[in-house]
């Protein structure tokens, strides 16, 4: 019985932690880590999607999910660069916060390109898929060019 109660209390606590509307006490380090995690997920989706686009693997209906994942992640970009989150081993360059309008344009381009890619995948038109994927790549590259530290 005691064990049961303990389990109940535990789940209640965990439940409270993720209640909708709760405000997280995000540190700068958390913000940076979260940004890195989302970027890594984008990289995973795009790497996987590229193999479909290049015809290297069969699609069992999952290209659409990768495309959706990309569009979701790209839509989140605008929330990932809170002021002060350029801490630790961050590749985000100061120019992101110095030229917020330019940066906003660059991530909007990524958001639109990934939406268009997702729509192209839905259409099933191979040529459109290839062209839209190229646009996604251009948006990634264009933004990394100015706003990310060279990590090679």
């Amino acid at each position: 019985m005691r064990v049961k109660i303990a389990v109940c209390v535990c789940s209640l606590t965990v439940g409270l932690g993720v209640l909708p509307g709760a405000v997280a006490e995000t540190t700068a380090e958390d913000a940076k880590d979260y940004r890195t995690a989302v970027m890594t997920s984008l990289r995973g989706h795009i790497g996987a999607a590229s193999m479909h686009v290049r015809g290297l693997v069969d699609d069992h209906g999952f290209l659409a999910r990768h495309a959706e994942g990309l569009a979701n992640g790209a839509a989140e970009l605008k929330h990932l660069f809170a002021a002060g989150s350029d801490v630790g081993e961050s590749e985000a360059l100061p120019v992101i916060w110095e030229e917020p309008d330019e940066f906003a344009k660059a991530i909007e381009k990524a958001e639109k390109a990934t939406q268009a890619f997702s729509a192209a995948v839905e259409s099933g038109d191979q040529e459109a898929i290839g062209a839209a994927f190229r646009e996604v790549g251009g948006a990634c590259k264009g933004c990394h060019d100015r706003f990310r530290a060279d990590n090679d």
Binding site: G47, R54, C140, K141, G142, H144, D150, D152
Partner: protein, 302 residues
């Protein structure tokens, strides 16, 4: 009409007719020559338009601004030896290369000497271009000369005192520069040789990716093994077939795709100066040429 007069008249008509026919023939032959010449000129310009991308001319000879005029020069190139500003290579006679002859153009690439007989600093990568064929170079010239002239005087280089004279460039060349055309390796495939020509000479990949000694000499025995000094803040990665330090784990297809779109095999996208190389140059090449480049890179010693 007396017979003699008639004959004379007939012969005159005949002569006139012959003259007319021959004349027309000559005129037609001239037209045909002109058409053929025009077609070959157009072919040369088209070849040059392609080679401009293979040679990576645009990136350095275009200022790094949104509204920069292509190939009119003005880009700053930072190096451990000072900052160089690229010159205008549009056909403007006063500030560009409009007054250059074919031989002068080729001489600049093969031997690093300007039409005025001055030595170029190796910021202009004649150290690589020296291997290019005359045919390719003249196609590049034909394309450049087909462009609109832009008046844009060259900006003075910003160099330390010991580099401030062209004599310094001459001394450097004397010690570290060896002129010479590319010769195909008969032991290797045609694809490998094409890749070697593009990588070593036209594409001048080693200018950034090969380490240098403290005098800026390229250390060819470590070809494309990376240059930590790099350009500006950028470190240039090792692109040999080394699986740890280089790109040995990338397939030939991965490399081709990277040069086309800029994606690394793990889904990351390059930015920085390689992003510009892809946008301006390698993405404009044929897939065959990118595969040739990849084939050559994969053959480099680990």
């Amino acid at each position: 009409m007396p017979t003699t007069t008639r004959l004379r008249l007939l012969s005159r008509i005949a002569v006139a007719a012959i003259v007319a026919v021959v004349g027309a023939g000559v005129a037609l032959a001239d037209v045909a020559d002109d058409v053929a010449k025009q077609a070959s000129d157009e072919d040369q310009v088209a070849a040059g338009r392609y080679l401009i991308h293979a040679g990576g001319c645009i990136t350095c000879h275009t200022e790094d601004t949104v509204d920069a005029v292509p190939l009119a020069g003005g880009r700053a190139m930072e190096s451990p030896f000072g900052t160089f500003y690229s010159p205008n290579i549009t056909p403007d006679v006063e500030t560009g290369i409009g007054g250059w002859s074919d031989d002068e153009f080729v001489e600049a690439f093969w031997n690093g000497v300007s039409p005025e007989g001055e030595h170029y600093f190796p910021a202009f990568p004649y150290t690589s271009y020296t291997g290019a064929t005359r045919e390719d170079l003249l196609a590049i010239k034909a394309y450049l000369f087909s462009l609109e002239s832009v008046s844009m005087p060259a900006r003075e280089h910003d160099l330390p005192f010991f580099m401030s004279s062209r004599t310094a460039a001459g001394l450097w060349k004397n010690r570290y520069f060896a002129a010479g055309r590319f010769t195909a390796d008969p032991e290797q495939s045609e694809e490998w040789n094409r890749g070697a020509y593009l990588v070593r000479h036209l594409g001048h990949c080693g200018e950034c990716h090969t380490p240098r000694n403290r005098f800026g000499k390229l250390l060819q025995e470590q070809e494309l093994a990376g240059n930590p000094e790099g350009s500006g803040d950028e470190k240039m990665p090792n692109i040999t077939a080394d699986p740890e330090q280089g790109i040995g784990r990338w397939s030939i297809r991965d490399i081709e795709y990277f040069l086309d779109i800029g994606m690394l095999p793990d889904g990351d996208f390059t930015g920085g100066s390689m992003g510009a190389v892809i946008d301006d140059n390698t993405s404009h090449l044929t897939r065959e040429d990118r595969l040739a480049i990849a084939t050559y890179l994969k053959s480099l010693p680990k």
